[in-house]
């Protein structure tokens, strides 16, 4: 009891230091993502949703939403300002593609040159599926041609 009471001011100081450190860690973590003065939650969600569809030009595997590159911060600010000016998501994307080409869009638009990108995996899947279907059918025919044996032990015979 005596011990605890004597330790309490020190504990309190320790808690204060820990609190300051905790706050600092948060400040550092937030420094990468500049706070923007959103009007309301809906606007913030629209901004987050839009910037997640855009590619950072510096760290190209990051979205504009995640990246802490200075250029990404500048572009986030531009996107935000254009949202405030009442521009639609499509207008903002067009503004960015006019400068950085369709490379900035994580979802490239469906055009003559991009159909392979969109449907290539589906085609590969269909080709694989067709191959499996043909092989299985042929095997089934071969199995059907062989008279069914009556195995006493009931085990599958491959």
């Amino acid at each position: 009891m005596m011990n605890a009471r004597r330790a309490s001011p020190r504990l309190r100081r320790l808690a204060a230091v820990a609190g300051v450190l905790f706050a600092l860690v948060h400040v550092v973590a937030l420094a990468g993502v500049d706070p923007l003065p959103f009007r309301d939650r809906a606007e913030e969600q629209r901004f987050q949703n839009l910037t997640r569809q855009l590619r950072c030009l510096v760290c190209q595997n990051e979205s504009l939403n995640d990246s802490s590159a200075p250029l990404a911060a500048d572009l986030r600010r531009d996107v935000f300002e254009q949202m405030q000016a009442g521009r639609s998501d499509d207008e903002i994307k067009a503004w960015l593609t006019a400068r950085y080409s369709e490379f900035v869009l994580y979802d490239p638009p469906l055009r003559g040159g991009t159909w392979m990108l969109w449907f290539g995996p589906l085609l590969a899947l269909a080709a694989g599926g067709a191959a499996v279907f043909v092989v299985v059918r042929r095997r089934a025919e071969r199995v059907a041609a062989v008279p069914v044996r009556n195995d006493a032990d009931g085990e599958d015979d491959w």
């Binding site: 030009l57 510096v58 190209q60 200075p70 250029l71 500048d74 572009l75 531009d78 593609t97 006019a98 400068r99 950085y100 080409s101 490379f103 191959a131």
Partner: protein
């Protein structure tokens, strides 16, 4: 043909595709963002001169003559590799060499140029980086060739090398000069 060969041929096809991908990414810069500005007018801009913030310089002053816009910054490590080449070759390119100081402290940029030399005919400073975004700049160094009509003809990302000058820049500049005549 033996039907058992078909899966093997499929495998060979995939292997060829993989080989093509490896070759392609080895011979192409996969990080280079294609510029949609090629063949289009360069954005209009007017920026303060480095060291003389009250004086501005921009597309209006540059109209009527081809120029090479070189994006650089004192914080840019690769710009140090490029810099001696610009010092050596800049004057014989035959176009105005515009230094575009990108998101830099003016004092740092001035010191950088004093230390390594100034290859540029004029140096403009884009501290906020807004004009750079209009140009579609993704970093430094980047270089744009703009013709006398203000049309962007060519963009090169990453440090300029003597090979790039010889094979990419000089032929294009010569073509521009032939057009002008």
């Amino acid at each position: 043909m033996n039907a058992r060969l078909i899966p093997f041929l499929g495998f060979l096809l995939l292997l060829a595709l993989l080989g093509f991908g490896v070759w392609w990414s080895g011979t192409h810069d996969m990080r280079a963002v294609p510029s949609p500005l090629i063949g289009k007018p360069a954005p209009a801009f007017s920026l303060p001169l480095l060291g003389q913030p009250q004086a501005t310089f921009g597309s209006r002053e540059l109209a009527g003559k081809p120029y090479l816009l070189n994006v650089f910054a004192s914080w840019c490590i690769a710009c140090r590799d490029e810099h001696p080449i610009l010092m050596r070759e800049g004057k014989r390119l035959g176009v105005t060499l515009v230094g575009f100081n990108y998101k830099d402290e003016p004092a740092d940029a001035t010191r950088w140029l004093a230390q390594f030399g100034n290859p540029y005919d004029v140096v403009i400073a884009d501290r906020p980086g807004d004009v750079a975004i209009d140009f579609g700049v993704t970093g430094a160094p980047e270089t744009f060739l703009v013709d006398a009509q203000g049309i962007v003809r060519y963009k090169y990302i990453s440090p300029i090398t003597p090979e790039v000058i010889a094979t990419e820049l000089l032929p294009r500049i010569a073509a521009l000069q032939k057009e002008a005549r």
